[in-house]
Symmetry: C2
DNA sequence: GTAACAATTAAACAATCGTTTAATCGTATG
DNA sequence: CATACGATTAAACGATTGTTTAATTGTTAC
């Protein structure tokens, strides 16, 4: 019967019908993962994490480099703290942040590799 | 002078001042990467990509498994097409989609590893 | 204690995003 | 050609998100 059939919809393909349960269950494997991608979905946060992977920086340094307002930077750092991606320590009036996660750089690296290969093969020019 | 100094701000730390240029330039390395993370930032899209990494599926199959409306699924697939992450072929009335990118599964894998280790060490309980 | 600076927080606003509903397109069938 | 079904598109709506502005907290120096 339908062994590797792939249609379902109305015409009772039944195909996936059995697999549907299995496939739906398998979604547990990726449950919640998008929360991490949400963090990197903002260009500013990707930049912050990338900078912090190079060296420890205080908030006003980041604001200077990124040419952004202090509250804006602080706002992003708050999320990074909640997600436990950065560590911070107070030194006088300043607060220094550093990267506290090993997977972030890996994710950035893979994404970079992706667009790198994209440019070689994919490009939409001739 | 300031060699590994890390303060700047107003009190003329000058520290990063030189590095600021270098650090700002280095941001080119991560320019645009968040576009890929934006795709995965939505739980539904992560699920779709994950399902397509397991087998080819038509739109109504996805709608069935994800328990979502057809337009909603189609809407997400549109973005995945634009981003060249999926391939598609028409077969009669149905359109079958499949994963057409090797990095997506890698990203999902790393994210999964992240939360996996998070649960071991990080947990917010004692 | 006051002043100055770094940082955080809160409220307000614009902009973006995802779903729904309805309409349209494409293909197969009678 | 009309009907049915799968898929896409468009408009509309609600919800979320990121930045700005202003106010507040924490620390150092006078």
């Amino acid at each position: 019967m339908a062994d590797n059939a792939q249609d379902v919809c109305s015409e009772y393909g039944v195909s996936v019908e059995e697999d549907a349960v299995h496939l739906r269950d398998s979604l547990l494997e990726v449950a919640g993962l998008s929360e991490l991608f949400k963090v990197l979905a903002d260009e500013t946060r990707t930049r912050i994490l990338f900078l912090l992977s190079k060296r420890e920086l205080c908030v006003c340094d980041l604001a200077l480099i990124l040419e952004m307002s202090l509250p804006a930077v602080s706002h992003h750092l708050r999320l990074l703290k909640v997600m436990r991606l950065v560590a911070y320590r107070r030194e006088g009036k300043q607060v220094f942040y550093s990267l506290d996660d090993e997977h972030v750089v890996e994710l950035i690296s893979v994404a970079g590799k992706h667009f790198g290969e994209m440019r070689e093969t994919g490009g939409r020019n001739g």
